[in-house]
Amino acid sequence: MAKTIIEKIWEQHIVYEEQGKPDLLYIDLHLLHEVTSPQAFEGLRLNGRKVRRPDLCFATMDHNVPTRNRDKITDPISRKQIKTLQENCEEFGVPLAGINHPDQGIVHVIGPELGLTQPGKTIVCGDSHTSTHGAFGALAFGIGTSEVEHVLSTQTLWQSKPKTMQIRIDGELGFGVAAKDVILAIIAKFGVDMGTGHIVEYTGDAIRSLSMEERMTICNMSIEAGARAGLISPDDTTIDYMRGRRYVPQGEAFEEAAAGWLALATDEGAAYDVTHTIHADEISPFVTWGTNPSMGSGIAEHVPFASDYEDPADREALKQALSYMQLEEGAPLSSIEIQHVFIGSCTNARIGDLRAASAIVEGKKVHPAVTAIVVPGSETVKRAAEAEGLDKIFLAAGFEWRETGCSMCLAMNEDSVPAGERCASTSNRNFEGRQGAGSMTHLVSPVMAAAAAIEGRLTDVRNYMKEPVPTV
């Protein structure tokens, strides 16, 4: 029978199944960071338990770490949390890329970079953006701290099999349209809870044409559509990315593994519980205007009117969002002035993102009213960018070039947006206070963020790009 990749991976990982119970699933890779792990390790200690497979764990520090003056973490509670992870990893034998390690970075950037993330694996992390790793055809999902403790102790999780959902993006992405615009458009069209109880597979020509980094941006925000996980069937693009990475098999063993990975792809004619489609023509450079990721539109549009909605609850939600965002109904999106630009996060801080943004700002200047920072997704990304001279381009334009970490995406370190100020941000959440109490976030792609930095307001990046001449 024809099967989806979701069913194939699920079935390969069942340790125990019984009618009326969730399945006991084996976990191949457990990623850890400093914020959601301390209570789990403490639970092990209190119960005299050990980590069953430290060799299948990998830890790093990303949420709390400063992006400048690395050696001095001024906040004592942050310092304690970082020190606690280090001690826990030592005590339980878990591999760690600590704060000064050359592999350190955002957990969802370094997993793929090192080749820890592989097609067909089950991957978990105490972090909702674990869905990122689905780009490789892995079944990857975020878990809470109790589940972190469960995986540390048993290398398994009890999981009820979610339903399957296909999101097919037909056609060819237009000029200036980034992967970020695709996922924001999907969430705007179908809603923040469309994926609840489902694992999503993204399919279609538009997905096949994307690089691995762009696919990661899309899978990363699956959780913003409520999905348990989001993934993409492996293809040659996947295999090319994997080849030569540190933790993948090498030589002949790689070719063998690659054949197995390609065989995971969804079979022709496999059925999904739900299918949604969107055409690439519907998608243009996007910005959010509200307080959840579904509240967004193409840059040429305006803030909606209450009268656009039939459901009184939606009108109320609009009212609350606009009150927080200090925006009026009907305001053109390109009229919104911003004071901050953040290029970073597990959504958009890979080398491709930085290349794209730097191409927009090269030879230009950041608007005098704007503070703009670039926070590379990992030490590896940072080194690669510096080797190409991207840091110089950003610095010359007036951006700050920082050390790696989650930074202003959630403002757990000192990088935050002050109350009453606005940020064009390449991150994933525009919730109230996400980037600092009282701050206002507009989610955009890296190139849209770059253009906003120059103009001091949200603007259509296509005006900064040369349309390629079609080849006949």
Partner: protein
């Protein structure tokens, strides 16, 4: 984990949908390395002005609902970040039951692992409870064994819950200890994987 079965309490009506875990517990309070002490920070920026004084118009500051153990909210409750600090804060504040039309998956799991009962009722049932609860404090009896919610005005609602989660909550099991009973299966799976490589 503490077993849960019957809860008697007035409900607290939170008439908002898509309440995300960033609102439930803001990032500045995630740095503690303990599971306790988060209740004081629950819905912090909705409860307090920047100067620390309470926002009069927020439902948790309404004395009519003080001591409530049942939070009622609209759809997609607990969306966003996987932070388990959110259910820790809810429980530490005093809520043992949440009622909503739907929940984000990770948040739902995090609740049951901590002995919080997340109940799903229909949109119209939740609307009804919220409207009544806003008008005047409304006492509810939640009975997990029977899977019912009974209001003091006599209205009664039935809910469904996965039998596995129900048993976990009723018995207050330590899930890890339970899984250790399947150790032979886990070891067999690992050996089989090793042979395939």
């Amino acid at each position: 984990m503490k077993p849960i079965n019957k809860i008697n309490s007035v409900l607290t009506p939170l008439d908002r949908k898509n309440v995300d875990t960033d609102q439930i517990i803001s990032k500045e309070f995630l740095k503690r390395i303990e599971r306790t002490g988060f209740g004081q920070y629950l819905f912090y920026h909705w409860r307090f002005h920047p100067d620390g004084s309470p926002r009069e118009d927020f439902v948790l500051n309404d004395p009519r609902y003080s001591g409530s153990e049942i939070l009622v909210a609209q759809e997609n409750f607990g969306c966003g970040s996987s932070r388990e600090h959110a259910p820790w804060a809810i429980q530490d504040y005093g809520f043992n039951v949440v009622i909503a039309p739907s929940y984000a998956d990770i948040f739902y799991n995090n609740c049951v692992k901590n002995g919080i009962l997340p109940i799903r009722l229909t949109d119209s049932q939740v609307d009804e409870l919220i409207q009544k609860g806003q008008k005047a404090p409304l006492g509810l009896e939640v009975n997990l064994e029977e899977q019912t919610v009974t209001a003091e005005d006599g209205s009664r609602y039935e809910f469904t819950i996965d039998p596995y989660w129900k048993e976990m909550l009723l018995k207050g099991w330590d899930e890890i200890a339970l899984t250790f009973q399947y150790d032979d299966y886990i070891t067999a799976y690992e050996q089989q994987q090793q042979q395939q490589q």
